[in-house]
Symmetry: D2
Amino acid sequence: MPEAIRDAGPTHAGPAAEDRATEDRDVWRARWRAVRGFSEALAAPLSPEDMQVQSRTECSPTKWHLAHVTWFFETFILREVFPTRPPFRTDFPYLFNSYYEGAGPRQPRPQRGMITRPAVSEVMAWRAAVDAAMDGLIAHADDATWTGTVRPLLELGLSHEQQHQELVLMDLLDLFALHPSAPVYRAAEPPPAGEAAPLTWHRHPGGIVAVGHDAGGGGVAFDNEGPRHEVLLRPFRLARRCVTNGEWREFMVDGGYSRPDLWLMDGWAAAQREGWEAPRTWRRQGDGDDWRAFGLHGLQPLDPAAPVCHVSFYEADAYARWAGARLPTEEEWEVVAADLPVAGRFLNDPATDLLTPRPAPPAEAGDAPVQMFGDVWEWTASPYRPYPGYRPPAGTLGEYNGKFMSNQMVLRGGCCITPAGHLRATYRNFFYPHDRWAFSGLRLAEDD
Amino acid sequence: MPEAIRDAGPTHAGPAAEDRATEDRDVWRARWRAVRGFSEALAAPLSPEDMQVQSRTECSPTKWHLAHVTWFFETFILREVFPTRPPFRTDFPYLFNSYYEGAGPRQPRPQRGMITRPAVSEVMAWRAAVDAAMDGLIAHADDATWTGTVRPLLELGLSHEQQHQELVLMDLLDLFALHPSAPVYRAAEPPPAGEAAPLTWHRHPGGIVAVGHDAGGGGVAFDNEGPRHEVLLRPFRLARRCVTNGEWREFMVDGGYSRPDLWLMDGWAAAQREGWEAPRTWRRQGDGDDWRAFGLHGLQPLDPAAPVCHVSFYEADAYARWAGARLPTEEEWEVVAADLPVAGRFLNDPATDLLTPRPAPPAEAGDAPVQMFGDVWEWTASPYRPYPGYRPPAGTLGEYNGKFMSNQMVLRGGCCITPAGHLRATYRNFFYPHDRWAFSGLRLAEDD
Amino acid sequence: MPEAIRDAGPTHAGPAAEDRATEDRDVWRARWRAVRGFSEALAAPLSPEDMQVQSRTECSPTKWHLAHVTWFFETFILREVFPTRPPFRTDFPYLFNSYYEGAGPRQPRPQRGMITRPAVSEVMAWRAAVDAAMDGLIAHADDATWTGTVRPLLELGLSHEQQHQELVLMDLLDLFALHPSAPVYRAAEPPPAGEAAPLTWHRHPGGIVAVGHDAGGGGVAFDNEGPRHEVLLRPFRLARRCVTNGEWREFMVDGGYSRPDLWLMDGWAAAQREGWEAPRTWRRQGDGDDWRAFGLHGLQPLDPAAPVCHVSFYEADAYARWAGARLPTEEEWEVVAADLPVAGRFLNDPATDLLTPRPAPPAEAGDAPVQMFGDVWEWTASPYRPYPGYRPPAGTLGEYNGKFMSNQMVLRGGCCITPAGHLRATYRNFFYPHDRWAFSGLRLAEDD
Amino acid sequence: MPEAIRDAGPTHAGPAAEDRATEDRDVWRARWRAVRGFSEALAAPLSPEDMQVQSRTECSPTKWHLAHVTWFFETFILREVFPTRPPFRTDFPYLFNSYYEGAGPRQPRPQRGMITRPAVSEVMAWRAAVDAAMDGLIAHADDATWTGTVRPLLELGLSHEQQHQELVLMDLLDLFALHPSAPVYRAAEPPPAGEAAPLTWHRHPGGIVAVGHDAGGGGVAFDNEGPRHEVLLRPFRLARRCVTNGEWREFMVDGGYSRPDLWLMDGWAAAQREGWEAPRTWRRQGDGDDWRAFGLHGLQPLDPAAPVCHVSFYEADAYARWAGARLPTEEEWEVVAADLPVAGRFLNDPATDLLTPRPAPPAEAGDAPVQMFGDVWEWTASPYRPYPGYRPPAGTLGEYNGKFMSNQMVLRGGCCITPAGHLRATYRNFFYPHDRWAFSGLRLAEDD
């Protein structure tokens, strides 16, 4: 999930929502219940203790996530529609606001884990109260309020809650990774061994192409995905699948982590400072070259055919240099992805809800790439900057999206813990180039 | 509680225990149940979330304290007497060892708050299992085992658990102080206003005096309290009560926090770096000079007659210089205290269990000081160093006490959250001179 | 000067040099003497003490710069042509290598100021010895050596030395700014008061344009300036002059440094952490709003019409947002600059050698911008990344240019301490977005 | 030299000076010239570059030392006697004050190395001007001024300058140690090999003894050496010589740097953090156990019989524990030293000016210890705290001595770079327990 969006809440291209004015409120109520219920289902295997702890500044406790998304609905819908409605508890807005300057002061981010009160049970009671009120509002709001306020903000708020569902699992993995006993969030069979099929390439002729979200074309998007604009690309080739764990081990065996000539200077400094010698979740067994990977299923054997995950941009960039290739730009990635269905291994999809990246499916006829969506977020070569003509939307909800547009790199495609239905080809995620706790991997590109 | 002892467990003068060979095992069983039960009573108002969080490196979660003291009994008594007895859970020794190198590796201290598993409920189950086993052992151990192993270690372990009872409250206050809503551990009436009686002095003629615990004289003590030895004191005067909040405000009004000439250089640097302008728990209301104090009763009006609390050694030293006096040495303090009953406001004493320092009781006839025990730990002028002839005791239990004997200052007398019955005149507590989260205050002294 | 180039030495498009095969060696010898002599002229007003100190990690002592550029000639020309020639002193290669892994180990950068030996006088003796050897080589090298090795590396090395001339002054200003007595490098009259003319705009229609250095077209360039490639621009407007000190004060008066909504989040954090409240070299006189600027002429009154200087990218970006505009991309800047003569206030140009940015000259007829070259480096909106198709050149000299291509932002146009003749429209400088010690200002842009 | 004294200037027991009222002014003038001239002789082998650099916060440049001691005479004598006399240059008092709050603001200590101006030559001119003025004042001051002001402050100032002579060499060694080519301050023959004679012990019966400077007994001393007072000692033994390099290697070979049980906890943390594996100036040759020591003579073979030097208190304490002994208290050390002549290897003594610690001379008959003075400062077990009854003297000169009395440990006896004539048995030096850049070693003690 984009860092900005995670903590600031998304904004979207409001006008597009008008086109769906006839949608049934019952459909929305069902969506509401499904998304809200799924958040609680994600928390079900966790104890109050598990949900309390903040593993580090960039992460938040599960309890905080569950409360923050609820604060979003209370603040931006319920208290907007009913201005005299008090907050559920007077200190909750301070405790569970993230970054919205316009919505008042807030608990400093590094101190979120210190909020032992309210208890998880109280947060759940709050959720129930907001659920009941929202349920009524969806059913009974007058048409103008429904169309002009509730429905667009509902769509936005549910998208926001989905993002935090990914964050719940991502931050939880970061926490569990600190536990010496390697806790298991959900048990699973170990993966089968077996190498991936050899890498093949998709070719693209380049030329003038359009990228970004078309605000006039319907569909929901965050403001950072627009405006749609044209760019000029040179012919390029894109790997048809992601780089695998097996390939990454070759990189390691070939000294990938000890050759400064492969690395960006800032990356080499980060690797030395933090002692990187493998992807973040890999753990060496004994003294040799036997590695296991820690994930939501606990400590498991490496799956050589699965995409490598939990690598930083710096590592991805070094790997690409080692492989004689490069990372794709975000425009290259998008122009290829735009022609593909948004299908892949996502969260909460009965067919694919695996919580860990899996080997690419067999490639189809032709040279279309696979695994563009789901499994792992893919680092691109593009710094996260505003698109030409970008303007932050007005108002509290929009205040922060543009603020994150420095020093970070764009990732594309979603991952195995991104909720199904949340992604699209124009979606831009972003992290600092040294970040490794997201489900981040890579796909190679080359000039053609 | 001494830092070393807090995390390493106390050691004591074993031989003295022999003299109590006829004590009834039932008495010990009752003590066992009382101490163990009181730990759980302290935790009763707390949620699992409250018990999970580590506010900073020097503090530990309540859950960790409850588990660590249990590990102590399991490791040093049950598994000592029954060498084949497995630990309750195999990963608990790693998770809940503190500093005992001889007892194996352990969770790094700054990461104690990351141990979300086991849950509080599992720790309580462990406590119950150890309680049952200990109960049986106390009743049924053969006499040699009882006298040679169980009883001395039981005495030591209960003393250790009492120390952790103080730490539970001390660390909890540190955590709650970070919560913007100022949580209340136990509600209480606000204190009455009213200044303390003017300060008077106790005179001591000095000369050769003996201090420290006499290993041959019976009674329990930690190793750092001995050997008993003679020192030569000059005549001195000791304030008959502690410095009060009201007096501290005079110091503040007189610019005490902005005059470098009053401070030790390292103290001034700490004060500037951390922005000290009042004792740690004082909070300014509005812009003026209206202060409240945060404590286990929540945010309360200042009690001008009560002892100032939560000040560092540096602040205490600056105050004494401002007052034209000095801090007493630990030997001066002890030689006066040795003639007084160990009575005062302590924890778990129905008469005095107040959780916050209270004004000194009326001074008695003569010039004997009051408030020497309880209310607040009193900073002394003495660095924490070994007594002449000190040798660390052998074995795992003793390994760490001498290790802390650098860079820290001695405090004496116990405080309002020290369990009743735990203190004695020879007891040495110690903290770094910049530490402020203990219940630490001061009493003045002068050359006579 | 580009960070990478500063410390790693430039690389250039060698083949282009072939076209100048008939140039007289005497011309090159004159160039050689002029560039080398100018470095020493820059150091003439400085004492050995001034030349010894490293003000911080990112800066280097004057003595080190003078030695490093000499090491470059000794290593890459003299010892290349005469493989048995020993270094002037055996420890100099270690001491004065910058970043060239291929040329051996080197003094850690933060420790350059600790090298009190050799003395400045010894470095000057080294310079003289290398000068004599180079003089002879230029005169007497056989034609193949001259054409294939000496002349291209000479051109490169002189360009490299020119870069370090800028660094000498830039780093010296950083050092002198730490001196409480505000030393003067070269005295000058205070600037006249007077505001700049109102801002007007240059319009560009956008479309497909080519940017970057054309390796086949002759002329020298660093590798990061190519390959030449096409990009698609939208119509835009570019300010005809830089933002002035007077305009910057309006920004300050309007709360520019205290409104987080104007800033990128990382920028706001940097501003708070470092206490920014004005450009880096501005110093407040008294308590009011009277500012002076420190420069190579010492502490001088602000010149309201001169370009603001010593601001970070974050400040430039915040200013642009405040002004309702934005920064130009590097491609926008270049496509406009490409049509203009490379003229402006540079170093060592008798007409313009002013050592401080000066007000824009009167705009000419039409809407062409002025002040594109010289005065201040101009922050762009572009992260420093490789151009499409970029490949680092082979060999030691090329090893590092690509290494810096993360986390930094591009600046364009040179400044008043860039040696005359060194700049070109394709030249890319780069610094971290928080850096403020370069002579960095800004020019606004807008969508058209 | 004591840290406080080094930077704050010494204070002394004024009254004692009265007894020397008849001393010839010519004698004082000769002393003046000798001390001042020796400072300049120490600097003679150094370049302006050598004298400019501050190797780290705790150290100062040679130039700064030479200027600071001159500021002391100008400020506290010349401008005291001639109140209208301006400073030599108006910015010098700011630049060269150390810690005297009462004497005005000053350059922050970590920035002393940034003061490239004045040049060394200007500092030397200042010294000459102050020398001339002082010379005249010594000759021509009226008797009251001479006796009441000039002579006592002269004695104090010369003692202060002697301290800075030690600091010049100590800080220079710290700087040269950072140079990869191991510069030589003064060349010398390598030491002969050969182990020290076996360790023997001096016995002391303990009892009530008096320590500290007797203000009424004549002689000069710093305020921290008094008041003289009685203490009660237990019988003890003191090693007759210091611990040697050869003995230290045994400690290393026996795992001294890898056994946490030998170390104080804070010491172990420091050793791990800073990667200690030998004394600070030892450098390993190759991969094995071949060590050399860096000193003012450059890199030399270890002298196994010479005292180990450049070890921290933590290392000294760990060594003593490993050796089954302990460090002496400062009172134990002093009571033994008080009966010995203040003789040993000091600086500026033609017989002993060796700049590096040398093996203990042959022990004499009886059990008197040797090497108590000179060679290396000896760590004691005593924290640096005020003596009973200590009060800081009034006025600017006295303001800081008491300020350093926390967190540091006392060292006794002077070292090979302490000027001859400067030491006495009551002299107290002090450093933080982790400091290693002083010439610090140790001598063992035991309970008897």
